[in-house]
């Protein structure tokens, strides 16, 4: 099992980090607030660690768990440190008054993130339609939750699914 790195220490970081740890992955949490990253790593347990914000993530899979309004700047800030990584975009680029999207009309969040990421970073969209608490609370009456995944690289998608889904860890991982 590899390492999953998470950028952000909020609700989704906690849910996804918890799932990944229960599946047996090493989890690295990074946050602009080092204390929050440390606290979340402790909460996740299973030897989860806190990494330095803006430093090279230790995992090959990096979950981008910050608001879309911050995502492009954060990805730019990491820059080449995300080269070769699978970057999982979980954001919802939606205006807070629900009047529209924060993205240009001819684009979408994952595309804008891919534009600012290094050329060999593979962007995969996942988790954006799933509520953090629902995700954390696991299967509903024994049924796994559906997490929708989109991306151009089939192998990367398979790795994201494998890293967080049921097969070998059905007891813990509600994702199919």
């Amino acid at each position: 099992m590899g390492t999953i790195s998470i950028i952000g220490s909020g609700g989704m970081a906690a849910s996804i980090g918890g799932l990944a740890a229960k599946a047996g992955h090493a989890v690295e949490v990074t946050s602009r607030d080092a204390a929050k990253a440390g606290a979340l790593a402790l909460e996740i347990g299973a030897d989860a660690t806190a990494g330095g914000f803006g430093e090279a993530p230790s995992g090959d899979i990096v979950i981008l768990a910050v608001p879309y309004s911050a995502a492009l700047d954060v990805v730019r800030q990491y820059g080449e440190k995300l080269a070769g990584k699978i970057l999982v975009d979980i954001t919802n680029p939606i205006k807070s008054d629900l009047s529209g999207f924060l993205t240009p009309p001819d684009s979408f969040g994952a595309k804008e993130i891919a534009k600012v990421a290094p050329a060999n970073t593979i962007v995969v969209k996942a988790f954006n339609t799933q509520n953090a608490r629902v995700l954390a609370s696991g299967p509903v009456q024994g049924h796994p939750l559906d997490v929708f995944i989109a991306g151009d690289d089939a192998q990367a998608k398979a790795r994201v699914r494998r890293s967080l889904r049921a097969s070998d860890c059905a007891r813990w991982i509600p994702v199919r």
Binding site: G11, M12, P67, D89, T91, N92, P93, I94, S96, D97, L98, F101, T103, F108, G109, A110, K111, A114, V123, V124, K125, N128, T129, N131, A132, R133, D146, V147, F148, I149, A150, G151, D152, K157, R161, R176
Partner: protein, 40 residues
Amino acid sequence: MDTGPLIMARTLEHACMLWLGLMAHSLKHGNFAIGVSLPG
């Protein structure tokens, strides 16, 4: 569940907007925990 190539992310982002819109309409109050605040 694999929905296809990255362009499908647009649909997933729209699906979230639809979901939030339905919630806002039916609940009429906000701060739903999907990373977006709903209007009051």
